[in-house]
Subunit: 363 residues, 3 copies
């Protein structure tokens, strides 16, 4: 779909210059841009690319000499990635789901579907479901009995919304996500080895041959507004109360959220993060890919954890974490440096013991 | 559904006192309990919550002064979580799957479906499948040709049971699980870099430009009785013999089980655990979230591994493990302590070398 | 299906001896082999198994005394696993998908489906899709608008192919994989904590209460020839250009590939590997299970990373990596050894400080 430079700039609330009636049909990296693409050059290091490509218009940094780059029009983006958000929103065609309810979708008579819904083929919507206005539900999705979802939901192929799950407005769910699986909660008739080592910190007495009895999940999942859930994510139901995800929080692909977990507002949990049962995560927490959080602990507001950080104990608000087990980022960096020098340190101690000067070439 | 205190106590085999005809319709945390909920206060630290909530009945610890808490009835639970198992089982409504075979399910004429089955819409059941009595199969499930599943199976939305997979009784499968994907097994025409470094422990000679040829999986997956599989779990087929999961074993969400793996009885594998090809896991093994097990190794009976433990070598029975690479839990704790003191140790060695006393403030 | 020893040897390009007209119907481990199975004994340590089983024919190592083992026929395999590739390919029955388009599949009138396709029930194929000859598409698969897939694709149950995704020939996709989910890309109106700590390496000034704005994914995913994707894998779309997976590359179950990532040719990424956004992976890279790669970094050709290696910085070609953070394999081994001896080293330093000989028994 073609957009004029004027319309794009207006949508972004950005300044523009040159031929504002020039139209573009897409966006491209500068060197790969054809004449109908808006080149993305929000940083001076992309200026060279403009010359290599064939763009007539570009989104550039404030103060860029767009005419010197041979452009006919330019949009100025003081914060490049923020401009990208607006631009990509404008240009995204969205998924192709026909308006109305597909003939091959099964909607329970007691379900309430809001105005303007688009529901694809092979979708099931259970008894008592309430689905807000403007919902777009792609093929193969199941929404189980009693789930309630706010306005403008976009739920993509094969996602599973469990029974009695509650979700706010503007929900986005990627394909294959499972919201409301049963919690992983089991108990042995007598004390188990796991209970024992938590008390003894590792020592085990007699080992018993026991089987696991299931604790069912009577709770569901409650999700706020403006939440996005990645592909093949799993969020378990709570045991008695609901597992909760706060408004504005985004989960990347393959994230695992255990039963009873509470995640706050405006968090980012990157790919393959795992949060064990009953952990509580504050607001605006950011976790890099493959982070893990132990069960029953608390991670404070504004904590940032680097990739693959494994958090075993409570983390105070604002802490920046790294490592397994997680420590403050600067401590981790210092420990790793010292560890790399450790073989040399051992040689130095050996030299001291012998009363001879340390000779590195003898290592 | 309302339950009398008498009926609940009988179902749990527990003692009760007070007005045994009082009915409750659900369970709740003490402070959040309304008058129709059974408050859960199996530990004295929850006694305060009873006063804050409006429960008339509670499940309490043995010897609790339930009348002093203002309750009209009480059930006594000597082992709280075990009582939770019984209580939640009683109160769980279960998924809403209509009895019989849905008109939009496709069941191959040669498949045998046991008595009392409930099979949802958009389900496919392949040629020669044998499905035991009392099966509940939710929407979008596929059960491929030749699979055999025991009595009382509960298979939730969109789970995939592969061809010729064998599963015992009382199987529970969460949404999106894939049981019987092809193994990840490839070979290069000549020795690969991976084969080379396994022999040389890291050194590489000439690097060859080779492509991977697929080894197909002729085996399937065999699963015992009373097994539960989490959401979006993946279990691969064996190459020649079956991959096996022993009776009573429970897998949490997003667990990966490679080809030829043998998992014993009554194990618990928590979220995102990964077991590489041909590893053998004993009985009653418990692994915290994000643990990893190397290919072709053996993990003995009753091993317990803390969260994110990465097991590279055989682990003897009963060992408690932590760390990457995995070591005994107490060794890990000792190593981490020493590592945290390492920068200081380096300063002490430097002081010794200079022949001056160690001055911490100079660090 | 029965195969003669002659036919099997011919298919493998291997030497054979004995009764070449003898037929087998499957393959088995030597001790478990019945009279109609080809025993697999490509290494002398399996010779004993032959005697325990009832096989009449076996695949053996070159020079094996097959007659002495009581066999009637033998196939000689100089490289056992390579022979396994050919043998299993020959014997794999493949999935049961009826030829033609199932009556319960929904194929958009504008989609082009090549000759010889087998498309199962509850499949959706969107507008403008081009699907090459010989495609086998199992039940519940969705292929969204504008996707283009080459010849001889095998796409298994419930896999999700996103809009405008491009895939080469001989593609194999395991159940539940999601190719073309939206990228995980968000921006705050003002500088976020993550941006801040990347500049300050861990220090944070004022913490702002901000929400995340979505950057939409205008790019898609481009996949080469001979690629295999594991069960429940997730591959995200690019932001502007496509995320790419090179020809011959194989991804195991539950792998996560972020937006804009470029993976080269002939790579093996094992179970639960995660590659963060905009990382570039060279050719012939092999990563063990649960490896992680930081965003925006480069991993050179022929890098091999052991299980659970976490790569935070660029890795040069041919490097063998291990650890968190990743270091050269030999460095990791040396560091771990030194770490295990660290408590003892601390005692030795204490002894030096006191001017007394180190007495291990006093530790």
């Amino acid at each position: 779909m073609p957009h004029t430079i004027r319309d794009i700039a207006a949508a972004l609330g950005a300044e523009a210059a040159g031929d504002l009636d020039l139209t573009v049909t897409g966006a491209a990296e500068p060197a790969a841009a054809g004449p109908d693409a808006l080149a993305l050059a929000m940083d001076p290091r992309y200026a060279d690319g403009i010359a290599k490509g064939r763009a007539r218009a570009a989104m550039v940094w404030p103060g860029a000499d767009w005419q010197g780059m041979g452009l006919q029009a330019a949009i100025f983006a003081p914060r490049g990635r923020l401009a990208m958000a607006g631009l990509t929103r404008l240009m995204d065609p969205g998924p192709d789901i026909a308006p109305g309810v597909h003939a091959m979708a099964i909607v329970h008579p007691s379900a309430v579907v809001g105005a303007g819904a688009a529901i694809g083929p092979f979708v099931t919507i259970g008894a008592g479901v309430v689905l807000g206005a403007g919902a777009r539900i792609a093929s193969h999705v199941s929404i189980a009995e009693g789930a309630r979802i706010g306005a403008d939901a976009l739920i993509l192929q094969g996602a599973r919304i469990g029974a009695r799950v509650t979700i706010g407005d503007r929900f986005i769910c990627q394909p294959g996500a499972v919201i409301g699986a049963d919690g992983f909660s089991f108990v042995t008739p007598e004390k188990s080895g796991v209970e024992e080592i938590r008390e003894t910190l590792g020592t085990r007495e007699g080992i018993k041959d026991q089987s696991w009895t299931r604790i069912y999940s009577l709770g569901a999942v409650t999700i706020g507004d403006d939440v996005e859930i990645g592909a093949n994510v799993c969020i378990d139901r709570g045991t008695i109360r609901d597992t909760t995800i706060g408004s504005g929080t985004k989960l990347d692909n393959l994230v695992h959220i255990g039963h009873n977990v509470q995640v706050g507002r405006d968090c980012l949990l990157c790919g393959q993060v795992g949060i064990a049962g009953s952990a509580r995560i504050g607001d605006r927490v950011v976790m890099g890919g493959q982070c893990g959080v132990n069960d029953n602990i608390f991670v404070g507001n504004d904590v940032i954890a680097g990739g693959a950080t494994k958090i075993f104990t409570n983390a105070p608000a604002g802490r920046v974490l790294l490592g397994y087990p997680a420590v403050k980022m600067e401590t981790h960096v210092e420990m790793q440096k010292a560890l790399r020098r450790l073989p040399r340190l051992a040689s130095r101690v050996a030299a001291l013991e012998k009363g001879v000067p340390f000779a590195p070439e003898a290592e």
